[in-house]
Protein backbone atom coordinates (compact mmCIF):
# COMPACT_ATOMS: atom_id res chain seq x y z
CA UNK A 1 0.00 0.00 0.00
CA UNK A 2 1.34 3.43 -0.92
CA UNK A 3 1.45 6.14 1.71
CA UNK A 4 -1.59 8.35 2.01
CA UNK A 5 -1.78 11.95 0.87
CA UNK A 6 -1.52 14.14 3.92
CA UNK A 7 -3.04 17.50 4.77
CA UNK A 8 -1.39 20.84 4.05
CA UNK A 9 0.56 22.46 6.85
CA UNK A 10 -0.79 25.79 8.09
CA UNK A 11 0.39 28.92 6.34
CA UNK A 12 2.93 30.80 8.37
CA UNK A 13 1.37 32.73 11.26
CA UNK A 14 -2.20 31.79 10.36
CA UNK A 15 -2.75 29.34 13.23
CA UNK A 16 -2.15 30.18 16.89
CA UNK A 17 0.65 28.86 19.05
CA UNK A 18 -0.38 26.92 22.13
CA UNK A 19 1.14 29.43 24.52
CA UNK A 20 -0.04 32.98 23.83
CA UNK A 21 0.72 34.91 27.03
CA UNK A 22 -1.74 37.72 26.31
CA UNK A 23 -4.41 35.06 26.82
CA UNK A 24 -3.37 34.18 30.35
CA UNK A 25 -4.86 30.68 30.63
CA UNK A 26 -2.65 29.41 27.80
CA UNK A 27 0.49 29.84 29.92
CA UNK A 28 -0.13 26.77 32.08
CA UNK A 29 -2.31 24.83 29.66
CA UNK A 30 -0.53 25.01 26.32
CA UNK A 31 1.95 22.21 25.63
CA UNK A 32 5.58 23.40 25.86
CA UNK A 33 7.37 20.55 24.13
CA UNK A 34 7.59 20.73 20.34
CA UNK A 35 4.89 18.80 18.52
CA UNK A 36 6.07 15.55 16.98
CA UNK A 37 5.49 15.53 13.23
CA UNK A 38 3.91 12.34 12.00
CA UNK A 39 2.78 11.25 8.54
CA UNK A 40 -0.96 11.15 7.93
CA UNK A 41 -2.16 7.61 8.47
CA UNK A 42 -5.56 6.03 8.04
CA UNK A 43 -6.30 7.16 11.59
CA UNK A 44 -6.04 10.86 10.70
CA UNK A 45 -7.52 10.85 7.18
CA UNK A 46 -10.67 9.18 8.50
CA UNK A 47 -12.95 10.61 11.15
CA UNK A 48 -16.51 10.65 12.40
CA UNK A 49 -19.07 11.70 9.81
CA UNK A 50 -22.21 13.37 11.07
CA UNK A 51 -24.05 14.05 7.83
CA UNK A 52 -27.60 15.17 8.50
CA UNK A 53 -27.29 14.44 12.20
CA UNK A 54 -28.94 17.36 13.93
CA UNK A 55 -30.76 17.87 17.16
CA UNK A 56 -34.13 18.41 15.52
CA UNK A 57 -36.37 20.78 13.67
CA UNK A 58 -35.29 23.94 15.51
CA UNK A 59 -31.57 23.24 15.19
CA UNK A 60 -31.05 25.85 12.45
CA UNK A 61 -33.12 28.54 14.20
CA UNK A 62 -31.76 29.44 17.63
CA UNK A 63 -34.71 31.78 18.18
CA UNK A 64 -37.23 28.95 17.82
CA UNK A 65 -38.35 26.14 20.10
CA UNK A 66 -39.02 28.25 23.18
CA UNK A 67 -42.31 29.42 24.62
CA UNK A 68 -41.78 33.00 23.47
CA UNK A 69 -39.62 35.26 21.34
CA UNK A 70 -35.92 35.49 22.05
CA UNK A 71 -34.85 38.97 23.09
CA UNK A 72 -32.40 40.83 20.90
CA UNK A 73 -31.64 41.61 17.30
CA UNK A 74 -32.56 38.69 15.06
CA UNK A 75 -29.87 37.89 12.48
CA UNK A 76 -29.21 35.32 9.77
CA UNK A 77 -25.74 33.78 9.52
CA UNK A 78 -24.76 32.08 6.31
CA UNK A 79 -21.65 30.95 4.48
CA UNK A 80 -19.85 28.11 2.81
CA UNK A 81 -17.57 25.40 4.13
CA UNK A 82 -14.70 24.60 1.75
CA UNK A 83 -11.31 23.02 2.01
CA UNK A 84 -8.04 24.68 1.03
CA UNK A 85 -8.31 23.16 -2.43
CA UNK A 86 -11.63 24.95 -2.94
CA UNK A 87 -13.69 21.80 -2.65
CA UNK A 88 -17.11 22.36 -1.11
CA UNK A 89 -17.72 20.21 1.95
CA UNK A 90 -21.28 18.98 1.63
CA UNK A 91 -23.27 17.22 4.36
CA UNK A 92 -20.89 18.38 7.05
CA UNK A 93 -22.11 19.24 10.53
CA UNK A 94 -21.56 22.62 12.16
CA UNK A 95 -22.16 22.86 15.90
CA UNK A 96 -22.86 26.38 17.09
CA UNK A 97 -23.10 28.02 20.51
CA UNK A 98 -23.28 31.56 21.81
CA UNK A 99 -24.40 33.85 24.62
CA UNK A 100 -27.66 35.78 24.53
CA UNK A 101 -28.19 39.40 23.52
CA UNK A 102 -27.20 40.56 27.02
CA UNK A 103 -23.87 38.74 26.91
CA UNK A 104 -24.83 35.83 29.18
CA UNK A 105 -24.36 32.12 28.51
CA UNK A 106 -26.85 29.54 29.69
CA UNK A 107 -24.14 27.84 31.75
CA UNK A 108 -23.60 27.65 35.51
CA UNK A 109 -19.99 28.71 35.02
CA UNK A 110 -21.06 32.09 33.62
CA UNK A 111 -21.24 34.41 36.62
CA UNK A 112 -21.65 37.63 34.65
CA UNK A 113 -24.41 39.73 36.13
CA UNK A 114 -26.51 40.00 32.98
CA UNK A 115 -29.97 38.50 32.57
CA UNK A 116 -30.66 35.08 31.15
CA UNK A 117 -33.33 34.93 28.47
CA UNK A 118 -35.78 32.07 29.12
CA UNK A 119 -36.44 32.08 25.39
CA UNK A 120 -32.86 31.64 24.25
CA UNK A 121 -30.62 28.61 24.76
CA UNK A 122 -27.77 29.49 22.42
CA UNK A 123 -27.36 26.04 20.84
CA UNK A 124 -27.64 25.30 17.12
CA UNK A 125 -26.66 22.67 14.58
CA UNK A 126 -26.69 22.86 10.81
CA UNK A 127 -25.54 20.59 8.01
CA UNK A 128 -24.12 21.99 4.77
CA UNK A 129 -25.93 21.44 1.47
CA UNK A 130 -24.44 20.01 -1.73
CA UNK A 131 -22.51 23.26 -2.38
CA UNK A 132 -21.18 23.43 1.17
CA UNK A 133 -23.61 26.18 2.17
CA UNK A 134 -25.06 26.58 5.63
CA UNK A 135 -27.52 29.02 7.13
CA UNK A 136 -29.02 29.63 10.53
CA UNK A 137 -31.09 32.24 12.32
CA UNK A 138 -30.13 33.56 15.73
CA UNK A 139 -29.88 36.61 17.97
CA UNK A 140 -26.89 38.88 17.73
CA UNK A 141 -24.79 37.92 20.79
CA UNK A 142 -23.75 40.55 23.31
CA UNK A 143 -20.25 41.43 24.44
CA UNK A 144 -19.27 40.06 27.83
CA UNK A 145 -16.53 40.59 30.40
CA UNK A 146 -13.95 37.95 31.27
CA UNK A 147 -11.19 37.89 33.81
CA UNK A 148 -8.15 37.76 31.57
CA UNK A 149 -7.06 41.30 32.49
CA UNK A 150 -8.53 44.48 33.94
CA UNK A 151 -11.67 45.55 32.06
CA UNK A 152 -11.38 42.64 29.64
CA UNK A 153 -14.39 42.26 27.32
CA UNK A 154 -14.89 39.71 24.59
CA UNK A 155 -16.06 41.16 21.29
CA UNK A 156 -19.41 39.74 20.16
CA UNK A 157 -18.84 36.29 18.72
CA UNK A 158 -20.43 32.96 17.83
CA UNK A 159 -18.59 29.67 18.49
CA UNK A 160 -18.36 27.12 15.65
CA UNK A 161 -17.20 23.49 15.72
CA UNK A 162 -16.61 21.37 12.60
CA UNK A 163 -15.35 17.84 11.99
CA UNK A 164 -15.01 18.01 8.21
CA UNK A 165 -14.22 14.70 6.55
CA UNK A 166 -11.20 13.62 8.59
CA UNK A 167 -9.77 13.80 12.08
CA UNK A 168 -6.98 15.94 10.61
CA UNK A 169 -9.51 18.63 9.65
CA UNK A 170 -11.07 19.21 13.07
CA UNK A 171 -11.68 22.91 13.63
CA UNK A 172 -13.16 24.94 16.44
CA UNK A 173 -13.33 28.66 15.81
CA UNK A 174 -15.25 31.86 16.52
CA UNK A 175 -17.03 34.27 14.20
CA UNK A 176 -16.90 37.99 14.91
CA UNK A 177 -18.88 41.00 13.65
CA UNK A 178 -17.66 43.76 11.35
CA UNK A 179 -16.72 47.06 12.96
CA UNK A 180 -16.66 45.72 16.52
CA UNK A 181 -14.54 48.25 18.47
CA UNK A 182 -13.41 45.52 20.90
CA UNK A 183 -11.58 43.48 18.26
CA UNK A 184 -8.22 45.27 18.53
CA UNK A 185 -8.17 44.60 22.29
CA UNK A 186 -9.12 40.93 22.33
CA UNK A 187 -6.20 38.54 22.98
CA UNK A 188 -8.12 35.58 21.56
CA UNK A 189 -8.95 37.28 18.25
CA UNK A 190 -5.37 38.62 18.13
CA UNK A 191 -3.76 35.23 18.76
CA UNK A 192 -2.06 35.20 15.35
CA UNK A 193 0.30 37.62 13.66
CA UNK A 194 -1.26 37.46 10.20
CA UNK A 195 -3.77 40.30 9.96
CA UNK A 196 -5.51 38.99 6.85
CA UNK A 197 -6.06 35.58 8.38
CA UNK A 198 -7.36 37.21 11.55
CA UNK A 199 -9.79 39.36 9.63
CA UNK A 200 -11.24 36.30 7.97
CA UNK A 201 -12.78 35.50 11.35
CA UNK A 202 -14.83 38.68 10.97
CA UNK A 203 -18.10 38.12 9.15
CA UNK A 204 -19.35 40.60 6.57
CA UNK A 205 -22.74 42.21 6.24
CA UNK A 206 -24.61 40.23 3.61
CA UNK A 207 -27.34 42.23 1.84
CA UNK A 208 -28.13 39.38 -0.50
CA UNK A 209 -29.29 37.11 2.31
CA UNK A 210 -30.79 39.79 4.52
CA UNK A 211 -34.57 39.74 4.67
CA UNK A 212 -36.25 43.10 4.41
CA UNK A 213 -38.16 43.99 7.59
CA UNK A 214 -37.05 40.74 9.24
CA UNK A 215 -33.31 40.31 9.76
CA UNK A 216 -29.88 41.40 8.58
CA UNK A 217 -27.58 38.65 7.40
CA UNK A 218 -23.88 38.10 8.04
CA UNK A 219 -21.63 35.97 5.89
CA UNK A 220 -18.94 33.75 7.37
CA UNK A 221 -17.07 31.31 5.13
CA UNK A 222 -15.02 28.57 6.73
CA UNK A 223 -12.03 26.80 5.19
CA UNK A 224 -10.82 23.47 6.54
CA UNK A 225 -7.41 22.02 5.76
CA UNK A 226 -7.05 20.49 2.31
CA UNK A 227 -5.06 17.49 1.22
CA UNK A 228 -1.90 17.67 -0.78
CA UNK A 229 -2.65 17.25 -4.44
CA UNK A 230 -0.78 15.52 -7.17
CA UNK A 231 -0.04 17.90 -10.07
CA UNK A 232 -2.68 16.50 -12.42
CA UNK A 233 -5.42 17.06 -9.85
CA UNK A 234 -4.87 20.79 -9.61
Amino acid sequence: MSDLKGYRKPWWHTQPEYVHPAYGSTVKRGPLQPLIEIPATLSEVTGPVFSATTIGKHAADLTAGHAGESIGERIIVTGRVLDENGKALSNTLLEIWQCNAAGRYLHEGDLHDAPLDPNFTGLGQVVTDAEGRYRFTTIRPGEYPWRNHYNAWRPAHIHFSLFGEAFAQRLVTQMYFPGDPLLPFDPIFNCIADEKARNRLVSSLDWENSKSEFALAYRFDIVLRGRHQTPWEK
Partner: protein
Protein backbone atom coordinates in the same frame (compact mmCIF):
# COMPACT_ATOMS: atom_id res chain seq x y z
CA UNK B 1 -12.43 34.13 -0.89
CA UNK B 2 -9.14 32.82 0.38
CA UNK B 3 -8.24 29.19 0.52
CA UNK B 4 -6.15 29.33 3.64
CA UNK B 5 -7.53 27.29 6.49
CA UNK B 6 -9.59 29.31 8.96
CA UNK B 7 -7.76 30.28 12.15
CA UNK B 8 -8.56 28.10 15.15
CA UNK B 9 -9.95 29.68 18.32
CA UNK B 10 -10.45 28.30 21.80
CA UNK B 11 -13.61 26.36 22.71
CA UNK B 12 -13.77 28.59 25.76
CA UNK B 13 -15.44 27.61 29.03
CA UNK B 14 -19.01 27.24 27.74
CA UNK B 15 -18.64 24.59 25.03
CA UNK B 16 -21.12 22.32 26.76
CA UNK B 17 -23.97 24.43 25.36
CA UNK B 18 -23.08 23.56 21.79
CA UNK B 19 -21.16 20.32 22.06
CA UNK B 20 -23.12 18.29 24.63
CA UNK B 21 -25.64 16.87 22.12
CA UNK B 22 -22.80 14.69 20.82
CA UNK B 23 -21.32 13.77 24.19
CA UNK B 24 -20.83 10.02 24.27
CA UNK B 25 -18.74 7.95 26.61
CA UNK B 26 -19.83 4.59 25.23
CA UNK B 27 -17.88 4.33 22.03
CA UNK B 28 -18.98 0.78 21.17
CA UNK B 29 -22.56 -0.40 20.84
CA UNK B 30 -23.79 -3.30 22.95
CA UNK B 31 -23.49 -5.78 20.08
CA UNK B 32 -20.07 -4.61 18.89
CA UNK B 33 -17.46 -7.36 18.56
CA UNK B 34 -14.19 -7.22 20.45
CA UNK B 35 -12.65 -7.04 23.88
CA UNK B 36 -14.53 -4.63 26.13
CA UNK B 37 -12.31 -2.07 27.82
CA UNK B 38 -12.73 1.06 29.88
CA UNK B 39 -10.26 3.92 29.83
CA UNK B 40 -10.17 6.60 32.47
CA UNK B 41 -7.81 9.36 33.42
CA UNK B 42 -7.42 12.95 34.44
CA UNK B 43 -6.23 16.09 32.69
CA UNK B 44 -3.61 18.24 34.43
CA UNK B 45 -2.18 21.69 33.69
CA UNK B 46 1.39 22.89 34.16
CA UNK B 47 0.85 23.42 37.88
CA UNK B 48 -0.37 19.85 38.29
CA UNK B 49 -3.87 21.21 38.85
CA UNK B 50 -6.85 19.31 37.45
CA UNK B 51 -8.45 20.80 34.32
CA UNK B 52 -12.20 20.66 34.95
CA UNK B 53 -13.19 22.27 31.65
CA UNK B 54 -11.51 20.11 29.03
CA UNK B 55 -13.13 18.03 26.33
CA UNK B 56 -11.67 14.78 25.02
CA UNK B 57 -12.68 13.47 21.59
CA UNK B 58 -11.66 9.97 20.51
CA UNK B 59 -11.75 8.12 17.19
CA UNK B 60 -10.80 4.53 16.59
CA UNK B 61 -11.12 1.50 14.34
CA UNK B 62 -13.31 -1.46 15.23
CA UNK B 63 -11.97 -4.72 16.63
CA UNK B 64 -11.12 -5.97 13.14
CA UNK B 65 -9.09 -2.84 12.37
CA UNK B 66 -11.56 -1.05 10.10
CA UNK B 67 -12.61 2.60 10.31
CA UNK B 68 -16.19 3.50 9.53
CA UNK B 69 -15.21 5.97 6.84
CA UNK B 70 -15.11 5.92 3.02
CA UNK B 71 -11.34 6.43 3.03
CA UNK B 72 -10.82 3.04 4.67
CA UNK B 73 -11.15 0.52 1.84
CA UNK B 74 -9.45 -2.25 3.80
CA UNK B 75 -10.60 -5.83 3.69
CA UNK B 76 -11.55 -5.97 7.38
CA UNK B 77 -15.33 -5.97 7.95
CA UNK B 78 -17.36 -3.08 9.32
CA UNK B 79 -19.23 -3.73 12.55
CA UNK B 80 -22.89 -2.72 12.43
CA UNK B 81 -22.83 -1.70 16.09
CA UNK B 82 -19.61 0.27 16.06
CA UNK B 83 -18.91 3.84 14.93
CA UNK B 84 -15.76 4.64 16.88
CA UNK B 85 -16.38 8.20 18.06
CA UNK B 86 -16.46 9.40 21.64
CA UNK B 87 -16.67 12.87 23.20
CA UNK B 88 -16.20 13.20 26.93
CA UNK B 89 -16.00 16.37 29.06
CA UNK B 90 -13.82 16.34 32.17
CA UNK B 91 -15.46 16.58 35.57
CA UNK B 92 -14.61 18.84 38.51
CA UNK B 93 -11.58 16.64 39.31
CA UNK B 94 -10.30 16.78 35.73
CA UNK B 95 -11.42 13.20 35.25
CA UNK B 96 -12.87 11.52 32.18
CA UNK B 97 -13.82 7.97 31.39
CA UNK B 98 -15.17 6.04 28.44
CA UNK B 99 -15.91 2.46 27.50
CA UNK B 100 -15.13 0.93 24.15
CA UNK B 101 -13.62 -2.16 22.57
CA UNK B 102 -9.93 -2.57 21.98
CA UNK B 103 -9.24 -1.39 18.43
CA UNK B 104 -7.69 -3.72 15.87
CA UNK B 105 -4.56 -2.90 13.92
CA UNK B 106 -4.89 -0.60 10.91
CA UNK B 107 -2.61 0.11 7.97
CA UNK B 108 0.26 2.47 8.64
CA UNK B 109 3.04 4.18 6.74
CA UNK B 110 5.18 2.01 4.49
CA UNK B 111 2.61 -0.76 4.42
CA UNK B 112 3.27 -1.82 8.03
CA UNK B 113 0.38 -2.30 10.39
CA UNK B 114 0.11 0.18 13.24
CA UNK B 115 -0.19 -1.00 16.82
CA UNK B 116 -3.71 -0.75 18.31
CA UNK B 117 -4.38 2.89 19.14
CA UNK B 118 -7.06 5.51 19.59
CA UNK B 119 -6.58 9.03 18.23
CA UNK B 120 -7.49 11.83 20.62
CA UNK B 121 -8.27 15.54 20.35
CA UNK B 122 -7.91 17.54 23.55
CA UNK B 123 -9.82 20.82 23.69
CA UNK B 124 -10.18 23.23 26.59
CA UNK B 125 -10.45 26.82 27.65
CA UNK B 126 -6.87 28.04 27.57
CA UNK B 127 -5.74 26.38 24.37
CA UNK B 128 -6.35 28.09 21.05
CA UNK B 129 -6.28 24.95 18.89
CA UNK B 130 -6.91 21.30 19.60
CA UNK B 131 -4.05 19.19 20.87
CA UNK B 132 -3.72 15.90 18.99
CA UNK B 133 -2.47 12.77 20.70
CA UNK B 134 -2.90 8.99 20.74
CA UNK B 135 -3.68 6.29 23.26
CA UNK B 136 -1.63 3.10 22.87
CA UNK B 137 -1.81 0.06 25.13
CA UNK B 138 1.05 -0.59 27.50
CA UNK B 139 2.66 -4.01 27.11
CA UNK B 140 1.25 -4.54 23.61
CA UNK B 141 3.91 -6.41 21.57
CA UNK B 142 2.93 -4.56 18.35
CA UNK B 143 4.06 -1.26 19.91
CA UNK B 144 7.63 -2.23 19.04
CA UNK B 145 6.90 -2.06 15.30
CA UNK B 146 4.61 0.99 15.24
CA UNK B 147 5.87 3.66 12.81
CA UNK B 148 4.35 6.57 14.73
CA UNK B 149 5.68 5.46 18.11
CA UNK B 150 9.09 5.10 16.47
CA UNK B 151 9.05 8.88 15.86
CA UNK B 152 8.57 9.57 19.58
CA UNK B 153 11.69 9.75 21.75
CA UNK B 154 11.80 6.58 23.82
CA UNK B 155 11.84 8.58 27.05
CA UNK B 156 8.43 10.11 26.24
CA UNK B 157 6.56 7.08 24.86
CA UNK B 158 5.15 6.26 28.27
CA UNK B 159 2.92 9.31 28.07
CA UNK B 160 0.99 7.63 25.26
CA UNK B 161 0.55 4.29 27.03
CA UNK B 162 -2.70 3.41 28.72
CA UNK B 163 -1.73 1.05 31.53
CA UNK B 164 -3.96 -1.82 32.48
CA UNK B 165 -4.89 -2.06 36.12
CA UNK B 166 -6.81 -5.28 35.52
CA UNK B 167 -10.33 -6.37 34.54
CA UNK B 168 -10.28 -4.52 31.23
CA UNK B 169 -9.67 -1.14 32.80
CA UNK B 170 -6.89 1.14 31.57
CA UNK B 171 -5.57 4.33 33.07
CA UNK B 172 -4.33 7.17 30.87
CA UNK B 173 -3.70 10.70 32.13
CA UNK B 174 -3.06 13.83 30.08
CA UNK B 175 -0.41 16.28 31.25
CA UNK B 176 -0.47 19.51 29.27
CA UNK B 177 2.96 20.47 30.60
CA UNK B 178 5.56 19.36 33.11
CA UNK B 179 7.91 16.45 33.59
CA UNK B 180 5.35 14.01 32.17
CA UNK B 181 4.02 16.29 29.42
CA UNK B 182 1.95 14.18 27.05
CA UNK B 183 3.29 13.79 23.54
CA UNK B 184 1.22 15.85 21.12
CA UNK B 185 1.43 15.42 17.37
CA UNK B 186 1.36 17.57 14.25
CA UNK B 187 -0.05 15.78 11.24
Amino acid sequence: MSFQATTSQTVGPYFRIGLSPLYRNEVAGLQAAGTRIRISGRVFDGNGAAVPDALIEVWQANAAGRYRHPEDQGAAPLDADFVGFGRIPTGADGGFQFSTIKPGRVAGPGGCLQAPHIVVSVLMRGILKRALTRIYFGGEPANAEDAVLALVPASRRDTLMAQSDGEGHYRWDIHMQGEHETVFFAV
